[in-house]
């Protein structure tokens, strides 16, 4: 493996966490209840902390977060999807956290001790994220007619971004073979098992298969990422190097 390959992989991990953390922080002050507001803010904080560590492996994390353009971001498309209603935020979180926990768990045995250390720390946090999102999927699914309709629609929309989570390209195959990275395709069976169990508890049907939407890892993003970045990066773009 080369330094550039590890950096590219760490950037993917960092970008997933950063973009989802930024998305969740948009809820701050707007969530349905104070407890939910605190919960989502805590998740955002964990994710942005993880992003700081992963991007720190690739270079200067502030520079990478605030001074790259959308084409240079390599996050998966799921995490950049807009918050929508509360059900859409929960569906996105549920699908991602279930994946992220499995991914990080496997990464704790990475031969790169920096990646392994970050993963070992982050996986404990993400276990809480998955629990929170799973509880809400059950509560919305097994709730009122309205809440069920909304979570069904949300899962149906987000489902098209699931396959990308497990997508392997040449870079990640190489790193997985060298036991620096993870063969994400091997996580799918356990992901399916965990997701199906929660859906069943929430009396929800598994969404119908969708044509997968791919491209985030190669910088091909939905229009939503640019809008997110314009807000997140504004201050550092306008006043480079500003501190407080």
């Amino acid at each position: 493996m080369t330094k550039a390959e590890v950096s590219a992989y760490a950037t993917r991990l960092g970008d997933d966490a950063l973009i989802l953390g930024q998305r969740l922080s948009e809820w701050c002050g707007h969530a349905p209840t104070i407890e939910v507001d605190l919960s989502l803010a805590n998740l955002a904080l964990d994710l942005i902390g993880q992003a700081t560590h992963f991007l720190g492996v690739a270079g200067d994390s502030d520079q990478l977060a605030f001074h790259r353009d959308a084409l240079d971001f390599s996050n998966c498309l799921l995490v950049e999807q807009p918050n929508g209603d509360f059900a859409q935020t929960i569906a996105r979180q549920f699908l991602f956290s279930t994946f992220q926990e499995l991914h990080l768990q496997a990464l704790t045995s990475s031969k790169d001790e920096r990646l392994a250390a970050i993963a070992a720390k982050a996986v404990k946090e993400v276990a809480y994220h998955r629990q929170l999102a799973s509880d809400w999927v059950v509560r919305l699914g097994d709730g009122t007619e309205e809440s069920k309709t909304r979570i069904e629609a949300a899962l149906d929309w987000m489902w098209r971004f699931v396959d990308e989570l497990f997508e392997m390209d040449e870079l990640e195959m190489k790193l997985a073979k060298e036991r620096v990275g993870v063969d994400k395709s091997t996580l799918r069976v356990e992901w399916d098992r965990r997701v199906d169990a929660v859906l069943a508890e929430g009396t929800l049907a598994r969404p119908a298969p969708r044509r997968p939407v791919l491209g985030g890892r190669r910088g091909h993003h939905t229009e939503h990422l640019g809008h997110l970045l314009s807000q997140m990066q504004f201050l550092q773009r306008a006043y480079p190097g500003a501190v407080w």
């Binding site: 994710l47 994390s61 250390a117 070992a120």
Partner: protein, 187 residues
């Protein structure tokens, strides 16, 4: 984000492991230099910025003390207090004449609430925060074990929200005295 991070447990690269003194429950390790004892005593006076009732030593985030280096670890990846804590340690060391002592951050092994000292548990309780159950690493995330109300001592309590006012705390309520309280999360 400018803090120097070392990725493996214990001492940073280039330092001699034999001079490292892990903290843990060991408060009077034999063979410690007077300087290390002084630094350790100094660190024990620095409060956690989010829960000032306990010190950073009680919280278990000071991982090692040497004559030339203090190694700390964050509680959570995104703990906003990390930089503030580092600055507090820097100020205390400088004021006490330990300008040459470096501060390093390590991520591994990851912090666990099991590292909070027994004294820390008592201080948390007295402050109104239910301490985390021991054995947190293997404990169920559902926190099924009931917390004891830090105000009236009742075990008749329930979780309101797993995420509270800081990353390390959950919000609970006591059914006996009807007061809400924070519980330190298992982690």
């Amino acid at each position: 984000m400018s803090a120097r991070i070392s990725w493996t447990a214990g001492v940073p690269a280039g330092a001699s492991a034999s001079t490292s003194t892990p903290l843990g429950d060991c408060n009077t390790c034999a063979g410690e230099t007077p300087a290390v004892q002084d630094i350790r005593a100094l660190l024990a006076t620095i409060p956690d910025p989010e829960i000032p009732a306990i010190s950073i030593v009680d919280l278990g985030i000071v991982r090692a003390v040497r004559d030339d280096c203090v190694i700390i670890t964050p509680t959570y990846s995104g703990c906003p207090a990390t930089h503030f804590i580092e600055q507090s340690i820097r100020n205390a060391l400088d004021e006490a004449g330990f300008r040459h002592v470096r501060i390093e951050t390590t991520l591994s092994p990851p912090w666990t609430s099991d590292w909070i000292s027994d004294e820390g548990h008592e201080k948390l309780r007295a402050y109104g925060i239910a301490p985390p159950p021991r054995g947190a690493v293997s404990a169920s995330l559902r926190n099924d074990t009931h917390a004891q109300c830090p105000r009236c001592g009742s075990m008749n309590t329930a979780e309101i929200s797993r995420f509270g006012s800081t990353p390390c705390k959950a919000l609970w309520r006591c059914n006996a005295c009807a007061e809400p309280f924070d519980r330190f999360k298992c982690h």
